[in-house]
Symmetry: D2
Subunit: 133 residues, 4 copies
């Protein structure tokens, strides 16, 4: 994606490992869009009532991933305390949403896929935390 090239052309790049940050941003973008699409797919399912908690956590996770993608994408004058807690919140949202989606994975392909991307995003967040904790 083009944003990765833009990130790499920053005039005062971060001292943190660039590939780890980029993977985190990429997974956050995919996870945010996946959770938005999964919540919407759930809204059209016959067993909608079973999916209420899934929808709610999808929305939380989309919000957390969106905010995290932007905060990690900024390299100017970064505050590690902000980045650390933001990524922890994102990982917590991915964990909760991924576990709930997993419970519906047998019945709904979108939930199975969303559980996957949540786990991947959670790992990408953990990899950034390992750089700064």
């Amino acid at each position: 994606m083009t944003f990765e090239e833009i990130f790499k052309s920053h005039p005062a790049p971060t001292s943190l490992d660039r590939d780890t940050l980029l993977r985190c941003i990429r997974e956050c973008l995919d996870c945010a869009a996946s959770c938005t699409a999964c919540a919407d797919a759930c809204l059209s399912e016959d067993d909608l009532r079973m999916l209420v908690r899934c929808i709610r956590l999808n929305l939380d996770c989309a919000d957390a991933c969106g905010a995290t993608s932007r905060t990690v994408a900024r390299q100017t004058a970064a505050d590690l305390g902000v980045i650390r807690t933001t990524i922890k919140a994102c990982a917590a949202a991915c964990l909760a949403c991924g576990e709930e989606c997993e419970r519906h994975a047998v019945h709904h392909e979108h939930c199975r896929l969303c559980a996957e991307v949540c786990r991947r995003c959670e790992r990408a967040c953990a990899d950034v935390l390992a750089l700064i904790d």
Copy 2:
């Protein structure tokens, strides 16, 4: 604001103290808008170069407050781990942004006001954390 009445008319309200949650949401909304407006005001200042860190933290804080206002506003099937880490991230962003804004408070009224709302939002976050930690 009308959203407060809507929050109170929820058919399955949260067991957490409603007024504490509402104050947190209200402060997050004001802080997000304040940080957006402060970043923009900074962009028009003569000493713009001195305000780069302020702008960056304004943008982080606006993102954190926006995500937090939405997550706290949801009462259906809440996950306390998600709410707790989200609010901690918000408080950290408010702290960092508030301290940076404070450094420019003498020269820029928008920074002085923004430091105030950041501190108020940080306290409102701490009050919610006291309910769930």
Copy 3:
């Protein structure tokens, strides 16, 4: 709210009428939070299946109002074409969401209140459009 004072302390203020812009931002913030809370309240209702369209439009409207509140809050080097189309999109989302909420107003107080704030936000958008069209 503090953001209004920050908006007023901008070093290079917009030439558009400030009170009209501020009312638009305020209504957008309330409407975004109201739609987020209404979607969540709908998720907990017994007649959830009847409210699917309401939830979807609530989410669209919250997104439109959020983006619009930020774009209108920026006074530095504004582009009227961007502001005009953004506000038109916001008014369209408020109209669609308000009409759908109105259909459920008899049964759900949160929908009745949300219809009200959508209409108020739509009017506040129309008032800004009248300044720039």
Copy 4:
């Protein structure tokens, strides 16, 4: 990206051309992240004062693309009036931001790349509009 598979597994898919919608969502995600990263890169440039309008339009464009990616990603009970005006606002933001970035393309690689992704996103929006206008 995984969100594309989730979009395709929707139980009540849109009647609009799926590939056109998916390209629009993908470009919006890339453009939103690109504009966020370009604004941040601009903040670290020596000729920061020349880039104030670029930063402002980057922020508007990121907001518009974010809201549009989510609205287009929802297939349940879509309202064409909302989608149409949202995409028009996004195209207008991409146009304004892309033109401004282009002016700095010779001096800043991030602006050159951001102008490219803005143009690509604007075209993807136009392609969706051609389906529904």
